[in-house]
């Protein structure tokens, strides 16, 4: 399988001196779904911001074999679709259509093509009928799905999601998980929802205090009580019950 993301010796310190990432080494392969788990403040979001060059730490980040740099930043941002945790940050345009068209517009795609891309992205997340709505007036579940549509319209090959289902009610959460299952691209999810990780991810990376604590096959990591508990996590209930 092809490596699509290669991170080696990545360090990042915020301007105020907080060390957010320390010596991160991580590979993600084509079409796999990787879960990044860890407590609050572990550095999950900081790591995700490196994947399309929004932050540049010390070390190497390669996407499809290309180092993230100024010259190929547009290409990398098209290939890596990053979805922020808070829809209020992700959805900054007034209407649904404008928000989904924002990315393609920046890529300089002709107008008819943009229309087509917007429609197919909205269709994929099941919001085609909300095209002219104001995103602020939608439910949180719809906003989360719309957030995903805003990057799908750029035809990304890697989908990077920060806490995709935080604060969702069970039905919306289920809808979102099914949606993520249906998207056939490489996915990287940062979350505390270990049940979702169990369902979606083939591989898991445990991150705490900016360091990779462990990585491996999902079930193996998630059923290791001694590994999880010191890092603010616990074994998902479904694994406990199936023992």
């Amino acid at each position: 399988m092809n490596k699509v993301i290669e991170i080696s010796n990545l360090n990042f310190t915020y301007p105020d001196g907080t060390r957010a990432l320390e010596e991160i080494n991580l590979d993600v392969y084509e079409n796999e779904t990787l879960g990044i788990i860890g407590p609050n403040g572990a550095g999950k979001s900081t790591l995700l911001l490196h994947l399309n060059g929004l932050l540049n730490g010390n070390g190497k980040v390669k996407i499809f074999g290309k180092a993230v740099s100024k010259e190929n930043i547009t290409l990398i941002r098209q290939k890596v679709g990053l979805v922020f945790q808070d829809p209020q940050d992700q959805l900054f345009m007034p209407t649904v259509y404008e928000d989904v068209a924002f990315g393609p517009n920046n890529l300089g795609i002709p107008k008819q093509e943009i229309d087509r891309k917007v429609s197919s992205a909205l269709e994929e997340v099941g919001l085609l009928d909300k095209r002219d709505n104001l995103s602020y007036h939608m439910s949180l579940g719809e906003q989360k799905r719309l957030s995903i549509a805003t990057v799908l319209s750029m035809s990304p090959e890697i989908l990077v999601l920060d806490e995709p289902n935080s604060n969702l009610d069970p039905a919306s959460r289920r809808h979102l998980i099914n949606l993520l299952k249906s998207l056939k691209v490489t996915k990287v999810l940062a979350t505390h929802d270990l049940e979702m990780v169990l369902e979606l991810c083939s591989k898991v990376v445990l991150l705490d205090k900016g360091k990779v604590i462990d990585e491996g096959e999902t079930k193996e990591i998630l059923s290791d009580k001694l590994l999880l508990e010191p890092h603010g996590l616990e074994i998902p209930l479904s694994l406990l019950l199936n023992r």
Partner: protein
């Protein structure tokens, strides 16, 4: 929480609402200039009647327009007062007040009968610079959020302050709320900028 305080009367069904946003903008600018440059009182009176006619046509409640007008009146008063110290002060001041009031009422009528999103689209078609349109659209988009945040902060504060009649303390709390909201807004702006960049936005874009 759902508020649409900007577009409350934008969904009515009148000839004025059906008119295209582009035409309305052009009409608004022209009429505004006509009012400002009107040479005599009679013509100003005629324009005033036209504005009243527009209000009737638009079916926007007079009360709503009046409320909004009151918010702007202090600015007019300042200008009218400073005009008093010039030659022909009283006439000039009166002239200023009437024209400014008419201009504001006209603006209110035109823009409360147009949906904000349609307005933005019309401005885009009229080749207004993109940066300016982004600013307006962000202002519109985040005004809802800001209102919600204020409301929530106010509720959280009220639920914990029992029988507080100390006005000085109330002002102090309000200023704390405003400070917190300012910082949150600032941080949000940073995150939104990142979210824009993540979707390929570069600062040079102007088309």
């Amino acid at each position: 929480m759902r508020h649409a305080f900007i577009d409350i009367y934008a969904d009515l069904n009148t000839p004025l609402h059906k008119l295209g946003a582009k035409i309305k903008i052009v009409f608004w600018v022209t009429f505004l200039l006509l009012i400002v440059f009107s040479p005599g009182r009679r013509i100003t009176l005629f324009y005033g009647l036209l504005v009243v006619l527009l209000i009737c046509l638009s079916k926007v409640p007079v009360k709503f327009i009046f409320k909004r007008l009151v918010e702007v009146i202090p600015f007019i008063i300042v200008i009218a007062l400073s005009a008093l110290f010039r030659k022909n002060g009283i006439a000039l001041s009166l002239n200023c007040t009437i024209k400014a009031t008419l201009a504001i009422i006209l603006t209110l009528v035109i823009f409360s009968t147009t949906k904000f999103t349609q307005l933005l689209e019309a401005l885009r078609q009229l080749k207004v610079p993109n940066l300016f349109i982004y600013l307006l659209s962000f202002m519109y988009r985040y005004s809802f959020l800001l209102e919600d945040q204020l409301l929530r902060a106010k509720r959280a504060c009220e639920s914990r302050s029992i029988n507080s009649k100390n006005n000085f303390r109330k002002v102090k709390i309000l200023s704390n709320i405003l400070g917190t909201i300012f910082i949150r807004t600032y941080e949000r702006a940073e995150r939104i900028h990142l979210a824009m960049c993540a979707r390929g936005y570069t600062n040079e874009q102007s088309n």
